[in-house]
Amino acid sequence: MSEPIVHIARLNSWYGRGKGRKQVLRDVSLKLAPGEVLGVVGESGSGKSTLAKCVLGMVTDITGTLEVNSPRPQMVFQDPYGSLNPAKTVGWILEEPLRTAGVKDKGERRQRVRDFLPLVGLEEEHLARRPAQLSGGQRQRVAIAAALIQGSRLIVLDEPVSALDVTLQAQILRLLADLKEELGLSYLFISHDLAVVYQLCDRVAVMTGGEIVEEGDVDEIYDHPRHAYTKKLLAASLALD
């Protein structure tokens, strides 16, 4: 196996300063191989979002090992209504990552954006629209395209389908799976929804109280959960179905 794209060992992280400083990650260790999808599951406050922020380099108060072997890992946010600039057109939003990456020629940027559209299932007519003129599913497609167009190989997906209805969820998950194959991506998939994680992920890490309590292949965790917390999560998810 080649070098892992994310390597975390005994990572600790804190939030706040002085007396209010609170530990949110405790001795977290995990690896993400190229082309792999790792689900991080836990309830809110479990530290899974902090873990994602650490991988993205947004948290500085950390100790331990944190290696990310991908230029500029990107994130797809939960709420596609908030993650796209309401004042800009889709064309501008998709060109901006290229502009930032130093593609100076306008024609080249436009061409690369146009070439990228079919990959995420968007049409050229969408380019002139603003986010408010798109449906939730279309917005999430734009957000995914914006995250990928710079050529990042590592994408953090923060509950990317939780804000969408069930049929759209399936479409976007399908799209993410296809993109992973076509572009050779690795995903760190943050979610509280075990059913969604089961569809997309190769491995799962279960987090609670800032610690990873159980980690393994998706099937194994689902069929033979060992930790009490994992069992509780599974039972809760099954009860909903």
């Binding site: 990107q74 994130m75 709420d79 309401p86 800009k88």
Partner: protein
Amino acid sequence: MKVKKKSWYLTIGGILTACMLAFTATGLFWTPYSPTAMSAPDRNAPPSAAHPFGCDQLGRDVLSRTLEGAGSTLTIALAVLVVGAVCGLVIGALCGYYGGVADALIMRLCDAVAAFPSVLLALVVLALTGPGKYNVIGALGVLFIPSFARLVRGEFLKYRDRDFVQSARLMGVSQLRIIFIHILPNIWPVLLSGLTIGFNNAVLAEASMSYLGIGVNATEPSLGYMLKDAQGVLFTLPWCTIFPALAAILLILGVGLLGEGIRERMGGTAA
């Protein structure tokens, strides 16, 4: 969802503002008589075909003086607005986006400045620097900064942690580009309605200061200066007061309605 009522603010405000701007622009290039030329036979003349707005006690044509006065009031108000809005925008944007100690200090300073009535403070400044167009612009402009800074800062506080801003940071967009290219376009509606309110305040402030005799020089009359000049003859030569006052009122009313209309149209949140 609120039912949108058809509103005439934008239309009426737009027409009124356009008329007043045309009136003022005319005054910059052409006046029927010289605004300062005195003519003995026309002293105290009421409005007539030759002098539609009448003449004052020195025989000067009130229409010509109103045209020139509106021009000078408008240019001063716009210059004040540019100074206040540009500085306020930059300060508010940086404070709101970065926060921290510098933000707290600058905002307390703004509170301190805003705690005094701006005309009073400007009078103090002008008492030190002497009257004149550029001194008025400088003094009022600086005093207009806090209100814009606070308005812009509030908006930036609202936007700085939005997902689209985080996403831009992850892509490696520079901080200044995030502030002025990513966030700023989102606050235009609020800023625009703030600008219209600021414009009206600037017109009023300039007029008040000239009325108190500490604004522009006598050689370049503004509307406020004309009103001050005319107060002694308010009842004998009412046209000397009515026409300049009317010009100021219509200008303020037009821009005020326009701002209200813009705010409504854009579904703005400004108070």
